[in-house]
């Protein structure tokens, strides 16, 4: 009798254990499915994010027709009448010098030059002779991009325009028609296209100047000077005046921030 009831209890215990094990299996499978689903969704989200991050999605590029004419007109209006010599914009005797370390392919430099405080600085302080701007090449976006060899090519092309005192027209047009930094778009035809848009530039002389190895050496020298003084990003803006030196402490400085820096040194 006792053994029968014991058997019954054992059978019940076995049944319970089996049910528990089955429920456990179902739960485990359910959880594996949920975790697997979460991992799959996470991988898809990250892959999409990486694709978006690397594709950039920026349009830009060389302009043509009326758009190019409008851009050239805007650049001429900004720079017209301001003295230039090589990579320097403004009065050579200006009391304050802003040294602009930049990379023509750098989108933050583009933001500063076109939307930040730079345009107002040029139209007011540079035009009035209070400030002069010296552009020095420093490789950032181009060196992070698909072809770092574009850097000396593009910067020397701007310096070649500088031989005809058109450096700033070339640089401004480059920023206006800048492409996606993750693409190797700085080709001969791109640079030629920009040069043809520079009003008054002798194209043949510019082409011939580009072959001068001194220009590439100058780009390297500017880059080395930047490294020596601790430049690490672009744009880096160094202000020098009678009261000393300061650096504009912002990624894309506004005109007010540039004014603060100018006041500190003058």
């Amino acid at each position: 009798m006792a053994s029968r009831s014991k058997q019954k209890e054992e059978a019940r215990a076995r049944r319970l254990a089996e049910e528990q094990a089955r429920a456990e299996r179902v739960r485990r499978q359910q959880r594996i499915r949920m975790v697997g689903g979460a991992v799959l969704v996470a991988v898809i989200v990250v892959v999409v994010a990486i694709v978006v991050s690397t594709s950039g999605g920026k349009k830009g590029g060389l302009q043509s027709g009326t758009t190019a004419n409008a851009t050239t007109a805007a650049v001429n209006q900004l720079l017209g009448g301001i003295p230039q010599s090589a990579n320097t914009l403004g009065n050579a005797n200006a009391p304050v010098t802003m040294t602009y370390y930049g990379d023509l392919k750098c989108p933050v430099c583009q933001a500063f030059t076109l939307q930040g405080g730079f345009s107002q600085l040029v139209s007011q302080d540079v035009r009035s002779g209070k400030v002069k701007v010296v552009y020095n090449a420093f490789c950032t976006a181009t060196c992070s991009g698909p072809d770092p060899n574009e850097f000396p090519l593009q910067q020397a092309a701007a310096l070649a325009a500088g031989r005809q005192n058109k450096f700033w027209q070339f640089a401004e047009l480059f920023y206006h028609e800048q492409g996606d930094e993750t693409n190797a778009y700085v080709t001969e035809s791109y640079l030629d296209g920009l040069a043809r848009q520079v009003t008054g530039l002798n194209f043949a002389a510019w082409k011939s100047a580009r072959n001068d190895p001194n220009l590439t050496a100058e780009v390297t020298s500017q880059q080395n000077t930047g490294r020596t003084i601790g430049v690490s990003g672009t744009p880096t803006l160094i202000f020098k005046g009678p009261k000393g030196q300061t650096v504009a402490n912002a990624a894309v400085p506004t005109y007010a921030q540039l004014q603060t820096a100018i006041k500190q040194v003058s």
Partner: protein, 179 residues
Amino acid sequence: MTTTTAAGTGVPARDQGDRRLRIAIGVVCLIGIAVATYLTYTHYAGLNVVCPVSGGCETVQKSVYSKLDGIPVAVLGLAGYIAILISLAVRNELGRVAGFGMALVGCMFSLYLTYREIFTIKAICPWCVSSAVMMTLLTILTAIRVLRVEPGTVAPSAPAKTVPRAERRRTERRQAARR
């Protein structure tokens, strides 16, 4: 059937473990929120980040990888930490898995950005690295939470079985009066 309880608390050990995990995840999230808030603030205020490594933060901050389709990655990080923190309030399997999924996305994307820092930008931003470490920690902690807690042991939005202090005092007073 016996239930293991944490010593002297009367709370099942498994619940106690989940509570500890939630606290750890919450703390890591709060540190992450602080870092991401600082990076977001400096981005919109146009300031350079205070950087223990000379120039590294500035280089990374000014690179193309500091934004995803125009949105600063600091903002995305901030949103991620807040979302993981909110997932802790959802006390069921879905909340745990969602927290793990979000932490995994943050961790994998942070690792991708760290790869870009080292091999493409060639500069290290310690703030970004610290965020990547926190996302990795969150992935580990949320994974443990998903794998160790049995469904049903932590009832969804189950009310705490502790008696509120005020009620406890009232009962004590009543018992004292009876004596």
